[in-house]
Symmetry: C2
Subunit: 256 residues, 2 copies
């Protein structure tokens, strides 16, 4: 969501699978694919018979800085030529067909791509043209199919989106345990328990002075409730400072 | 990758979180977001101050059949108004900021959204404008942040891609165990062991007739090798029929 043209650090996660676009129609989509590849740590792009020829400037305009991916892309006449130096080929295939091949989810495929790549083998993923998808001859060149786990009632998946999901899973699969757990938040600003205690002392003192806690029987419970309120979540030092100011100011009462 | 305009069955996974686009700039992107929502089983769209007004026909043209999502979208003046009936709000935030809130991955957020929704609470996710992203006031309206686990060197993430990844994780999180394992392949065409045996008998008979297996000492090992070859993978009845034809034809020898 932030443009960073020029400063792009594409950092592929090597050995990364090749993205092979089969008969892509719109150069804009090729550019959008390159951008999605950059997001997901993919780098190697092959184009099989792009409809409008290659290179096409529109692709670079849509790539949002992922220019090196487009610069390095190669063009091939047919799928067989595009996969001839690869050891394992996957084909994205939204519909079930009468073809018996292993079918993987994007997540399952990403794990397998890492595993195969770690053995020093070259992998590639076929993505079909925007409207029709891969045909049966294309799919015959693949060892396994990838079928996304998405709403089966609405499978109209944009080409760059299909690459994005695969790239996203590819990136995550480098360290899958990190994906499930939350990321570390920046903890430097969180108030210490001592700072919280200082604030509670300040608050209770002012509440006592104002008469708010004058009911001796209810006092401990009310203080506990206040403590719970400020204990909850991870309050920051800055937020406590603000609250110090707020209660001090309130305690001064209405100004004349 | 397949167009299915008109026949779209959007089937949201309810209770699905609201997608809230904050100050979106291009109507095309709003349409692409609706399409991604359809893929991921999301339905409820709110627009905060869309730059070019609303409705905009360009959005419908880019939605690839997800029209009902756009038809039902509501427009709001500011983020506070767009979230006022929600119980929990998440904000997508590509950059770390000096704000202390829980930070989740897309996967972690999807699990939490399901869990919160199952308790009958309404949730929403804020997505910022195309260039600038959410500002600090927007983020102050959120309880938690979502940060995608993607290449940190190339964070230029298209708005529809950001929604796509969240929708993808949302869809998968309805049944997370299905995502990791492969999908079932269509097993109806796989040859039975009896069919395989018939073929092996045919093959061995022809090999014997041709003299290929005349070395009695090596014969068992060679047959075992052939068996391994055809046993591997899940060969289909159709493929076996083809092979029956191939070996029969080869055994006839060169034609005059």
């Amino acid at each position: 969501m932030t443009g960073r043209d020029g400063g792009a650090d594409l950092r592929p996660i090597e050995p990364s699978p090749l993205v092979i676009l089969v008969r892509p129609q719109l150069a804009e989509n090729i550019g959008a694919v390159a951008r999605a590849m950059g997001n997901g740590g993919l780098f190697h792009l092959r184009l099989v018979a792009p409809r409008d020829g290659w290179p096409e400037q529109k692709a670079w305009r849509m790539a949002s800085g992922a220019h090196r991916i487009l610069d390095a892309a190669t063009v091939h006449e047919n799928v067989a030529d595009a996969v001839k130096d690869l050891h394992r080929v996957f084909a994205t295939c939204p519909r079930l067909r009468h073809i018996i091949k292993p079918v993987l989810t994007a997540r399952g495929a990403a794990a397998e791509l890492h595993e195969i790549g770690a053995r020093g083998l070259k992998t590639g993923i076929l993505f079909g043209p925007e409207r029709a998808g891969l045909d049966n001859d294309d799919i015959a060149c693949a060892d396994s199919l990838i079928r996304y786990d998405l709403n089966p009632g609405f499978m109209s998946l944009n080409l760059a989106q299909a690459v994005m999901i695969l790239g996203y899973e590819w990136y995550i699969a480098r360290a899958p345990e990190a994906a499930a757990r939350g990321l570390q938040t920046n903890e430097t600003g969180i108030a210490t328990k001592f700072e919280l205690e200082q604030f509670m002392d300040h608050l209770v003192r002012l509440c006592d002075e104002s008469g708010f806690l004058k009911n001796e029987q209810k006092r401990p419970g009310m203080i506990r409730n206040l403590r719970h309120l400020f204990q909850r979540g991870e309050i920051t030092s800055q937020e406590l400072n603000t609250m110090h100011g707020v209660i001090a100011e309130l305690a001064r009462g209405k100004r004349p």
